[in-house]
């Protein structure tokens, strides 16, 4: 197995995710691009786990640490999407649009509470 193939795929996917985060205006599409970036990192961790494992095995140690980290990242990503979508829906309820570049950063208090 040549580790260069999954490594390059992961690097390109990370670039695509970064491109999507900067290009998309819709908050949900933005979250999808963030998922792409997270998955690229997962692929790098799994590949590194496999690559280093075969070198560790020669020394008599067994480690699946990379894969454990991937599990942790998947759980954190699930939590992130839950909270993120709650915020997006609240934004939509307040402003009737989910576009991130029309959100005013300094919001007068009275306008937020009008419902």
């Amino acid at each position: 197995m040549r580790p260069v193939i999954p490594y390059v795929v992961a690097a390109v996917l990370f670039g695509i995710g970064g491109f999507g985060v900067l290009r998309r205006r819709n908050a949900i599409l933005l979250l999808m691009a963030v998922e792409l970036m997270l998955n690229a990192v997962n692929l790098i961790l799994v590949t590194a786990s496999v690559t280093v494992h075969s070198m560790l095995a020669a020394a008599g140690a067994a480690g699946y640490t990379g894969q454990v980290f991937v599990l942790f990242i998947i759980v954190i990503a699930a939590a992130e999407v839950g909270v993120g979508l709650a915020i997006v829906l609240q934004l939509y309820r307040l402003r009737a649009s989910a576009e991130v570049d029309t959100v005013p950063l300094a919001e007068p208090e009275a306008e937020v509470l009008a419902r």
């Binding site: 491109f19 792409l36 954190i76 909270v83 979508l85």
Partner: protein, 167 residues
């Protein structure tokens, strides 16, 4: 080129193609469905790389839960069914930074691993990875459960209109 390499190349090409479509398509719902294809082929790559438990967790949580949640949000924000023209900003900053990061990292990896070939280890089955989780990583695992609880409560508090409102 072994069978593993060919499988990785094919699945990687599918993942990259679907990923490109996720960030360029003008249909909100289609972006979610392309994300399923991309995450599914990544799960296939995990399987080929012998990370068995991770692959199934990826299918269960990402394809099963995260994408469904994203599609729910698409529906709840009353996204239009057809193509929408106003989804994108001007592309050149994203192209510059995304392309720079992607190609730069790819060049680094190619430089470091060009001729390396490794033997695939024993599969990361549930027993082996579980042994590792409950051997070396018990404390982070427990902290993670608290994080999930906090995210759950946070999502409920954020989405309830009557919490924190001034009447």
């Amino acid at each position: 080129m072994t069978v593993t390499d060919v499988l990785l190349l094919g699945l990687g090409a599918v993942a990259i193609g679907a990923g490109l479509l996720v960030v360029t398509t003008a249909h909100l719902v289609r972006a979610g469905l392309y994300l399923v294809v991309c995450l599914g082929s990544l799960a296939g790559m995990f399987l080929v790389l012998t990370a068995e438990l991770v692959a199934w967790v990826q299918v269960l949580i990402y394809v099963g839960a995260v994408v469904v949640l994203l599609l729910f949000a698409v529906m709840l924000t009353r996204a239009p069914i057809g193509a929408s023209a106003d989804l994108d900003r001007p592309g050149w900053p994203g192209l510059l930074i995304g392309g720079g990061a992607g190609l730069g990292l790819a060049a680094l990896f190619v430089d470091a691993y060009r001729w390396t070939a490794v033997e695939l280890p024993d599969a990361g089955t549930a027993a082996r990875v579980g042994g590792e989780v409950f051997g070396s990583w018990v404390l982070p695992f427990e902290v993670l459960s608290i994080l999930l609880l906090a995210a759950l409560i946070g999502a409920i508090v954020v989405s309830r209109p009557d919490v924190g409102a001034h009447h």
